[in-house]
Amino acid sequence: DQQVKQNSPSLSVQEGRISILNCDYTNSMFDYFLWYKKYPAEGPTFLISISSIKDKNEDGRFTVFLNKSAKHLSLHIVPSQPGDSAVYFCAASGKKSSGDKLTFGTGTRLAVRP
């Protein structure tokens, strides 16, 4: 049972345009959500997070939106840059601390075309 789903395995975007990566979850006990970015042969690196008490969190070019009623979150990257090309994982946790396991989606591979 996949509790965190990323239904788009890949996405291609022109440099300078917006990239939108989507994630859906089924477990209503999740209350903290994170996005990780992964380059080949490296571990995932933390990008941005959002607590369930918020509906938006912004950090530079990256914004995460949370729609609790729809159990949906999205990551917006604007403007997209070639260096953003990587696999992006959505993850969810049951509490807002590091002492809880993360449930990951299967990832979306983003390619930003120059």
Partner: protein, 114 residues
Amino acid sequence: GAGVSQSPRYKVAKRGQDVALRCDPISGHVSLFWYQQALGQGPEFLTYFQNEAQLDKSGLPSDRFFAERPEGSVSTLKIQRTQQEDSAVYLCASSSLDSLYGYTFGSGTRLTVV
């Protein structure tokens, strides 16, 4: 060290062989996690340590998998009698107890069982 260090980076094991994977977390990080990432999938939780205490081992797939962190720093994940389905990247992550910014992952150990 500056990051989470895992060794070896690559391991090829014959089916039935025992393997040991090492993780050196960031100095002072209380929490340590092991995840398994199969090809084309997101990381899946295996086990969690807080200092030397293994607080959650619900993700270990069988009793062939064993993890320890005897002194609350370095951790070892041991897989006995390896099978082909154990082939995956094994990721270690660490964090301070109250971190709100997710974990820091190592680059992983890619295990191939032949």
